[in-house]
């Protein structure tokens, strides 16, 4: 699936059965991000498929 990582401002491709598995694969702490699947905010255990477009939004900010 196509994955956008906001903190790195980059698109990548990854394969994972759920949002939680995807974050683990990308080494991202789930506490620090929101997962948006096809334009909708989803809980961390949401199932994912190859056709999905996923955005990983950062929740930590500073300044």
């Amino acid at each position: 699936m196509k994955v956008y990582i906001e903190s790195k401002n980059k698109w990548t491709r990854a394969k994972a059965p759920s949002a939680a598995a995807l974050l683990k694969k990308l080494n991202i702490n789930p506490v620090t991000v929101l997962v948006v699947k096809n334009g909708s905010l989803v809980a961390d255990d949401e199932k994912l498929s190859e056709k999905d477009e996923v955005k990983i939004l950062s929740v930590v900010s500073g300044g």
Binding site: E6, N29, P30, V31, T32, L34, V36, S40, L41, V42, A43, D44, D45, L57, S58, V59, V60, S61, G62, G63
Partner: protein
């Protein structure tokens, strides 16, 4: 798994593991916010409250939630103050978002800039002073917010500090053995009362940063996500990462830090209330702990370098 309450698709999983749909999540945030206001008596009849607005997610969520309370009660006044530090490429974007939000909610916004009030933008100050940008910015932001809120006859300033910010401050003060600074934390900032010092309230105190960001996302309050170019969270950043690491492995860690601290806070406030007096700066007459406030010290340094 669906939302337990209404069987809709969940958008958020709480630290307890409970999953909520958009409607139930919004309701959870709004109830938690109202509970903080009620239990900590943050809003009283006749108050005139200034919301410190930056256009970032925390202060935007705070403004929207404060407005929702005002719309129901109308027994207090609400307005917003935005401090434009003069950070090129960053602040103009969040200022625009803040202006649009205030317009949409019908809230009066007062904008003050470092340049106009102090004679320098933060960008200029950072080039001239050998101090961290966050130290310079924090000093003048606090200085101007307090001064302008008082001039606008506010009796409280509401800040968008969240549970993550507070847990980080608590742990930082603990690690540095800085009980004096810890005593000034809490839902209502400060230890001593003085007519020139406007009390600061933190209505988002019990909401986690992730919860606030999700609420901002669901309610179109995220605006332009852009980090301040001066963000240098050396020590705070390490504490933040440590707490996030613990939170992911032991959900409820941050809330635990807050609960334990709030039990100790009355003792800390008692201890430090009796030590030292609030003084007034000999130059600007603003409240401080010594005879010259940090803002005047920094401004004098800038003038010497001119």
């Amino acid at each position: 798994m669906v939302c337990k309450k209404c069987k809709q698709e969940p958008v958020f999983a709480l630290a307890s593991g409970e999953k909520l749909c958009k409607k139930c999540f919004n309701s959870y945030i709004e109830k938690k916010f109202r509970k903080t206001i009620r239990k900590c008596e943050l809003i009283e009849k006749g108050d005139r409250i200034a919301v410190a607005l930056s256009g970032g997610k925390d202060s935007s969520v705070l403004l929207k939630l404060m407005h929702s309370i005002w719309a129901q009660r109308k027994d207090f006044q609400l307005f917003a103050i935005l401090i434009d530090e003069g950070i090129s490429g960053y602040r103009p974007l969040t200022t625009k978002f803040a202006q649009n939000l205030c317009k949409k909610l019908g809230i009066k916004l007062y904008v003050y800039s470092f340049k106009k009030e102090l004679g320098y933008t933060l960008d200029q100050m950072v080039r001239e002073l050998k101090k961290g940008p966050c130290t310079i910015c924090g000093t003048f932001r606090r200085y101007l917010l307090n001064k302008k809120a008082r001039e606008l006859k506010a009796n409280k300033i509401a800040f968008g500090h969240n549970a993550d910010d507070e847990a980080q401050s608590i742990v930082m003060n603990l690690f540095r053995s800085n009980n004096d600074a810890a005593a000034r934390l809490g839902v209502i900032n400060g230890i001593k009362r003085d007519p020139r010092f406007i009390p600061r309230i933190k209505p988002l105190y019990f909401l986690l940063e992730k919860e606030i960001t999700a609420y901002a996302y669901l309610n179109n309050l995220l605006g332009v996500f852009k980090e301040c170019p001066y963000t240098a969270l050396a020590y705070r950043g390490q504490v933040r990462d440590m707490l996030n690491d613990f939170e992911s492995r032991h959900p409820g860690t941050k809330t635990g830090v807050l609960s334990a601290f709030l039990e100790l806070l009355p003792l800390l406030k008692d201890k430090f209330r009796t030590e030292g007096e609030i003084a007034y700066c000999k130059y600007c007459k603003e409240p401080t702990t010594t005879d010259e406030c940090m803002a005047c010290k920094l401004l004098a340094e800038l003038k010497r370098k001119k």
